[in-house]
């Protein structure tokens, strides 16, 4: 039985039976795509399994990669209270060489939407990390900044399209390293220090990053035959 099972698991694209310690949270978009496909299969509606209509991209394998990075702590206290620095790291090795990347979307969940804590404003900057991080190094060696965005308050989920970054960084498939800086902008009424510090501490607890990757396996998804003219 073990032999047949292993052969079958390999056909599922798995080297061996996974044994996860705990289930990761499944984002609503994956649940919706799964439920749409199940509903179509139950209704006997034929569907194009090589196109993800909910995302508008070709692909037959969707992966949500968890962030395996860590926070960096700046020496100066004033900086620490108003600036958050995190190394984001995503393991792309699960993606087989023959798979074509059609989508790479970074999701930054700043925390639940609430009616209080409406402030302070944040400024987020994302850069590509060049080379492995050296312990003790204050900030990593980074390439050019490829995203800069302000948000009015530390809530909700932000999405960044990283397809070009991931494609450029993708051979051979290894870790995709990003440097995230979040500047908490003061400028409010008194008590601003308390708020900045409180915001950074809260963001350290609530910030959750993940990378949604869609790939197309040409061996399983034959390009649509061109209609004869």
């Amino acid at each position: 039985f073990q032999f047949q099972e292993r052969v079958f698991l390999q056909s599922l694209g798995l080297d061996k039976e996974p044994s996860p310690k705990k289930f990761q949270p499944v984002p609503s978009i994956l649940k919706r795509i799964f439920q749409d496909q199940e509903a179509a299969a139950t209704a006997g509606v034929s569907q194009d399994l090589c196109y993800v209509k909910e995302l508008g991209v070709s692909g037959n394998i969707l992966r949500l990669l968890p962030d395996q990075g860590f926070f960096l702590y700046s020496e100066s206290l004033s900086q620490a209270s108003s600036r958050l620095q995190k190394l984001l790291s995503f393991n792309l090795s699960a993606i087989k060489d023959e798979e074509q990347l059609t989508m790479a979307q970074l999701g930054l969940d700043l925390g639940p939407n609430t009616y209080y804590n409406l402030g302070p404003e944040l400024e987020l900057a994302l850069s590509l990390v060049q080379g492995p991080h050296v312990w003790g190094q204050a900030t990593p060696k980074t390439g050019k900044m490829f995203a800069l965005q302000s948000v009015p308050w530390p809530q909700g989920v932000l999405h960044f399209n990283l397809l070009d970054v991931a494609k450029r960084n993708n051979y051979p498939r290894k870790n995709l390293g990003l440097f995230l800086e979040i500047l908490v902008k003061g400028g409010r009424a008194s008590g601003v220090n308390f708020q900045l510090e409180d915001t950074c501490a809260r963001l350290r607890r609530s910030l959750h990053a993940s990378l949604l990757v869609v790939t197309l396996n040409p061996e399983q998804c034959h390009p649509p035959t061109r209609k004869r003219r």
Binding site: K31, I61, Q220
Partner: protein, 114 residues
């Protein structure tokens, strides 16, 4: 005039049987998030000569059944899936990645003699 086939023999003829695969029975519930299982079904039953003319069978099954009627040493045609469909699976791998993938030919929709 057609000779009415006995009810009992109809039951033994090639057709689709229900088979629900519960991933817990395989111990796969520890890594498959959804579905909890699925209706896979299977094909089973005899393929006598008469059936190959009615059921959606292939030509070679017809010829094989014909030859089996002449020479029983020639094996009967076999009952196989003639229409299959995929399922989607949401699971977690050893790197804690959550993966949504479709797998072709997981559900038997129709059977025939092949």
């Amino acid at each position: 005039a057609a000779i009415p086939a006995s009810k009992a023999s109809c039951k033994n003829l090639c057709h689709r049987h229900q088979l629900f695969i519960n991933f817990r029975d395989l111990g796969w519930h520890k890594w498959i998030i959804a579905p909890k299982g699925f209706m896979a079904n299977y094909c089973h039953g005899d393929c006598p000569f008469s059936l190959t003319t009615s059921l959606n069978s292939s030509n070679y099954a017809f010829m094989q059944a014909l030859m089996h009627a002449i020479d029983p040493a020639v094996p009967q045609a076999v009952c196989i899936p003639t229409k299959l469909s995929p399922i989607s699976m949401l699971y977690q791998d050893n790197d804690d990645n959550v993966i949504l993938r479709h797998y072709e030919n997981m559900v038997v929709d129709e059977c025939g003699c092949g």
